[in-house]
Symmetry: C2
DNA sequence: GCAAATTAATGATTTATTCAAG
DNA sequence: CTTGAATAAATCATTAATTTGC
């Protein structure tokens, strides 16, 4: 056979759609558990590995930001060029602007249900300090060990009815706000 | 009690020693298989995970390079200052210089036996083109899937006599010196 | 001598850059 | 040219050294 095949993953439209929806839903850097679940889910639509999901989110995030930055940079350049010719309208909030703001840091993270199709969105009210630095703060996380071995001979495992990840660990809340225990070290002076 | 334990891995002296020996032996970016083996081996000396090994090599490599770069940069500054006062000795090959050259890209990679204790070192002669980009060029590689679960309840598994990884895959040679083939691409135009 | 406070090392994560397949 | 894959650089955060006041 010589399945030299494609060295790189080629996402199917469904996979891509779902991934984008997830991204739009606020997921930026899924943790290992999430990646596993997402991979399991997407593997239903075609061959896929955890690292593909991982890379996809990384690249997508980076390139969206890059794209926006370029756009904004261009806008600023234009502003420089015009230098307030006669300030027609101060700033009429372009969609790009909104998009930029939105992409700055997405406060959503409603990991309750990663897949959008289900739809629930509890409005995610009362997000106090949210984020902070988007860090994962020690916990489980990324790491190696993909195929190395026989490497998933067949991927399209129907997985039965697809239980759509119940998020094993705790219920859901408290995703990266891991500051639950010995958080007393807030005396960082500075 | 309450083994909230340390969030981060704390390498034991033995682990560190072995890792450093491996690094000195030429290993810079071990692939998944190697990481697995190294982890298995080191887990004999204390709790450790694959990601720790991965991170260690990344950090160590980066910081060694950084250290050297700073040193060289300083040397160059001195050269600028002196500007060949009267070229005493053109260049007497300081150890730093040698180290720098060596660290540029290590041609060794005698993965025949990662662990030094065994000692073999075939002099690794004939390192022709070496490096070029140090990339892994599609292949197996890093990825997630760590514990997520109970996370290695006990780590110090004696592993019997410790067979010291036989490097399952191919025999040994040809690690990442993948440039052994189409090395003729010197026509990079630019 | 010791514990709190600073600083230095270094483990862990994220971001930017680069390479190459399609 | 787009984008998946991979690495390097930058950054954060925590632990170990160390200094300092008592």
């Amino acid at each position: 056979m010589s399945p030299a095949a494609s060295t790189r993953w080629c996402p199917t439209p469904e996979q891509l759609m779902i991934l984008e929806e997830m991204y739009r839903g606020g997921i930026r850097t899924p943790n290992a558990t999430q990646i596993q679940q997402i991979t399991a889910h997407l593997s239903f639509y075609g061959k896929i590995e955890g690292k593909n999901v991982f890379y996809w989110f990384q690249n997508h995030k980076a390139r969206e930001r890059q794209k926006l930055r370029r756009k904004l940079s261009r806008q600023q350049q234009q502003q420089q060029q015009q230098q307030y010719p006669h300030h027609h309208f101060l700033h009429q909030i372009d969609p790009s602007d909104a998009a930029a703001a939105a992409l700055q840091q997405i406060p959503l993270y409603n990991s309750t249900q990663i897949v959008p199709q289900i739809g629930g969105l509890k409005e995610s009210s009362s997000n106090d300090d949210i984020e902070r630095s988007t860090r994962m703060y020690g916990r489980d996380w990324m790491m190696m060990m993909m195929d190395v071995g026989p490497a998933t001979p067949c991927c399209n495992r129907p997985l039965k009815t697809l239980q759509l990840f119940p998020i094993t660990t705790s219920s859901s809340l408290k995703d990266e706000c891991t500051t639950s225990d010995h958080l007393s070290c807030s005396t960082s002076s500075d």
